[in-house]
């Protein structure tokens, strides 16, 4: 009986498992292998040479790698933080009773469905110094010092504009996760607090925030994972520039492979991205309790 049962669930899971293993593990192993080789796609005459850990040593020694990791985390931390602040305020507001909220929810969902390429284009257009509305708005507000240089041509403002586009696109996701969390909160603690005469602010800090912690953590980890892989908006808006001011790990890996044609070194850099993805996926699994065997 137990063997029959085992066979039973294998047949449901196996096709998908094989598919994922085939198109996931083979490329990963392939990446791992070529990370030990020197391989320039444009120079077939040089051949594919085994170089041991040389790519890894080069990656570790090159300050640019560390700068890129730093930039990536700067991007991730600032955008996730802003998304959390905006998303939380909006979720709290939408958790009050009001008839129009349904339509509001539909509207704020729209950015989530727009292709990142289009989001990148839209923001590139909006912050365009000549024809975009944002720089003119800033000038009208008297903030002329910001708009002296084109916003995407200045290292500091370029990074901030890329973050802005990311915040625009993903705040809806954070809002929805937190709103679902808020709606699932038990009512009893609030009633008890009400009887005890707790103020709204006390209720927020002593009841809502601690009870909502799991939802907040899930939103933060998922957004960290998806924001680590940012590529499309940066590619469209700045192409990693000016200089390398907005170049994140994903973009660096892409540039090494498809602009410098260094297959081996690009694979090494990509494995750093992959390693970060593993760490945050493990954190996520721990958060939703998949590691404990129920």
């Amino acid at each position: 009986m137990s063997e029959r049962k085992n066979f039973n669930h294998i047949q449901y899971i196996l096709p998908s498992l094989l598919f994922i293993l085939l198109i996931f593990l083979i490329p990963i192993v392939y990446t791992l292998v070529i990370s030990f080789f020197s391989w320039n796609l444009l120079r077939p005459d040089l051949g594919i040479k085994y170089v041991g850990f040389q790519n890894y040593l080069q990656a570790l020694k090159n300050p640019f790698t560390w700068e890129t990791i730093g930039r990536t985390f700067y991007f991730v931390i600032i955008s996730v933080l802003l998304e959390l602040i905006f998303g939380f305020s909006l979720a709290l507001s939408l958790n009050t009773e009001f008839k129009g909220w349904k339509i509001v929810q539909s509207i704020i969902l729209i950015p989530f469905m727009i292709a990142p390429v289009v989001v990148g284009f839209a923001w590139k257009f909006i912050v365009n110094n000549d024809y975009g509305p944002l720089p003119h708005l800033l000038i009208n507000l008297g903030l002329t010092s910001i708009t002296e240089n084109p916003l995407l041509a200045n290292s500091t403002t370029a990074m901030f504009m890329v973050i802005l586009a990311d915040v625009w696109e993903y705040t809806p996701f954070v809002t929805l996760v937190l709103l679902a969390g808020l709606k699932a909160l038990p009512q009893e603690p609030y009633e008890a607090a009400y009887v005890d005469g707790a103020s709204a602010i006390q209720r927020f800090f002593y009841i809502t925030l601690p009870l909502l912690r799991p939802s907040i953590m899930v939103a933060v980890v998922i957004r960290t994972l998806t924001s680590l892989r940012v590529f499309d908006t940066i590619f469209i808006m700045t192409g990693g520039g000016p200089g390398s001011a907005t170049e994140t790990l994903s973009f660096y890996g892409y540039r090494l492979a498809f602009q410098s044609y260094q297959m081996g070194y690009s694979s090494t850099i990509n494995l750093i991205s992959f390693f970060l993805a593993i760490i945050f996926t493990l954190i996520y699994m721990k958060l939703i309790g998949w590691d404990s065997n129920e």
Binding site: F24, L109, A115, P116, F121, I126, T226, L228, G253
Partner: protein, 274 residues
């Protein structure tokens, strides 16, 4: 009582700011898509076009590339979404129903596949499809899109399946159904809204996929995001035509997304309710 009113007013202000912030870029692009070139280049920029014109849409639609690209996007999206459902639904059901000692490892692999940055996968995909002489065909891009949508479908459907009480199936099986029949006749109809939301999100992933499309598609097979990119990277961007292209690219997904909105929201947040 007073405090309640203050909270309501603050909420209303926050929501209004959020709406303006969300709609600002959208309305700008919609208006720009109806502007003639002269108005696009007016300084300072004008929001509302004085003469509504369909010129930008006409230019975009008369571009022979466009029809082909649109067809490519539909083909790639449909194929990879069907793959995602065929592989994803049974696996999600298996994971939701059976206790298996390796279930955690499996969940980890599926989740990791979903979370892996595309850039990690794009280089091996490119080299392998070059090696297999598949460059320039639809196969690499369809497989690549299902690389993201299959794990996503498993992850999302698992949540919908675990909401259906097992006792329903057991009852059916006592009445003589096999497990598969119980799944087909009892469970699948109940999770149908979940399936529709999952298909939409899988379609969204493939429709919007850019990096893989950029690297793996050739002139014959390129999809809409790649075409949008080609317009943007031209020296003299025609912002009006670009805006029209952007709107054509996003309209189908916005329509589908809003149709299944409630289940979409449920599906997106399903992983956080655990």
């Amino acid at each position: 009582m007073n405090k309640n009113i203050i909270i309501k007013i603050v909420s209303l202000i926050i929501v209004i700011i959020a709406l303006i912030w969300t709609l600002y870029p959208l309305i700008w692009i919609v208006f720009s898509s109806f502007k003639a070139p002269l108005e696009q280049f007016s300084i300072p920029p004008k929001w509302i076009p004085e003469n509504f014109t369909l010129r930008n849409y006409k230019i975009f639609f008369s571009n022979t590339e466009f029809i082909r690209t649109f067809f490519n996007s539909v083909l790639v999206t449909t194929s990879s979404t069907i793959l995602a459902l065929i592989f994803g639904i049974p696996a999600a059901y298996g994971l939701a129903r059976f206790k298996w000692k390796h279930a955690n490892l499996l969940s980890f692999i599926i989740l990791l596949a979903r979370m892996t940055p595309p850039v990690v996968m794009v280089l091996p995909f490119f080299l392998i499809s070059r090696y297999l002489n598949l460059s320039g065909t639809y196969i690499p891009i369809i497989i690549a899109c299902s690389f993201f949508s299959v794990p996503f479908a498993v992850w999302m459907m698992q949540g919908f399946f675990s909401e259906i009480p097992e006792s329903l199936e057991e009852a059916a099986r006592i009445d003589g159904c096999t497990r598969f029949e119980a799944l087909r006749k009892i469970v699948l109809p109940l999770v149908l809204p979940g399936i529709s939301a999952t298909s939409i999100l899988c379609a969204l992933i493939s429709w919007n996929e850019f990096l893989f499309a950029l690297v793996l598609t050739g002139q014959e097979t390129r999809t809409l995001p790649v075409l949008v990119n080609m317009f943007v990277s031209e020296k003299n961007v025609d912002w009006g035509v670009m805006s029209a292209a952007a709107i054509i690219t996003v309209i189908p997904m916005i329509v589908f997304g809003l149709l299944v909105q409630n289940n979409l929201v449920k599906g997106l947040t399903v992983g956080s309710g655990k």
